[in-house]
Amino acid sequence: MADQLRMTLPTEFVLRALLADPQAELYGVEISDAAGLPSGTGHRILARLEELRWVQPRWEDIDPKVEGRPARRYFRLTAAGAQQARTALAEAYQSKSKRQVRIPRPVAEPS
């Protein structure tokens, strides 16, 4: 699957945020903050990653009356997802490194 994934910058940011601690469970706002993305952007990426089964969502197990707030939906990388995410990020990094090597542009000689 990872070889089919064409990584984009926001996706990279989300994966890096999740890979910072693969065992940690984060909810939407925390992920967006960690990734440095504006609100709402992280959710669609998470929807994709969930579809790919790279992340495992889980509803928080709390009593809303005690906590004074509804249960949050937490996301965590699956074991396979973490591995695929690392591979995809490494490929994206290599691809970027190749792009950094530019073909020198010809400079017009003064006539």
Binding site: R44, E51, R72, R73, V101, P110
Partner: protein
């Protein structure tokens, strides 16, 4: 009476989030509504509103992401996510230039934010100055060659 430890969601953020989830497919609408509402709790009032507006503005993109089947999710990821808007400063032509070196060790500059390369206006300068507005405008006007002012 249990003590509330988190700031409750305000009316307008809650309403905005509910409007945002109306465009989502019926099967996932309630799930996202609960998720977005829960995320509002604990945020400051201003942050709640910003978050809700952000969710609203990207609700159609979320709908597209949800509707994409799993086998196409990987292949289509770039199509949905590549519409990353250019930063405002870059739109205003206020780039954050950073110097890189090409294979032949010649320096070139590229914007850190949007990845734009600096134009060839700078190339071939013999003035020794990196930014010379007169020279740049003259080069743009005369097509990069020698102008009447003996620029090159």
């Amino acid at each position: 009476m249990a003590k509330r430890t988190t700031r409750a969601a305000g009316f307008w953020p809650r309403h905005t989030v509910q409007v945002a989830t109306r465009v989502l497919p019926g099967a996932t609408r309630d799930r996202y509504r609960q998720e977005f509402l829960a995320e509002l709790y604990g945020l400051s009032r201003a942050r709640q509103l910003r978050h809700a507006v952000g969710v609203l503005s990207r609700s159609w993109a979320l709908r597209a992401a949800i509707n994409t089947p799993s086998d196409a999710a990987a292949a289509d990821m770039e199509i949905v996510f590549a519409r990353h808007r250019r930063p405002l400063f870059c739109l205003l032509n206020r780039h954050r230039w950073e110097t890189f070196r090409s294979e032949d060790a010649k320096p070139y500059r590229r914007c850190q934010r949007c990845g734009k390369d600096e134009t060839d206006v700078w190339a071939g300068s013999k003035s020794g100055r990196e930014y010379d507005p007169d020279e740049i405008s003259a080069r743009l006007f005369w097509g990069g060659g020698a102008g009447p002012g003996g620029l090159v």
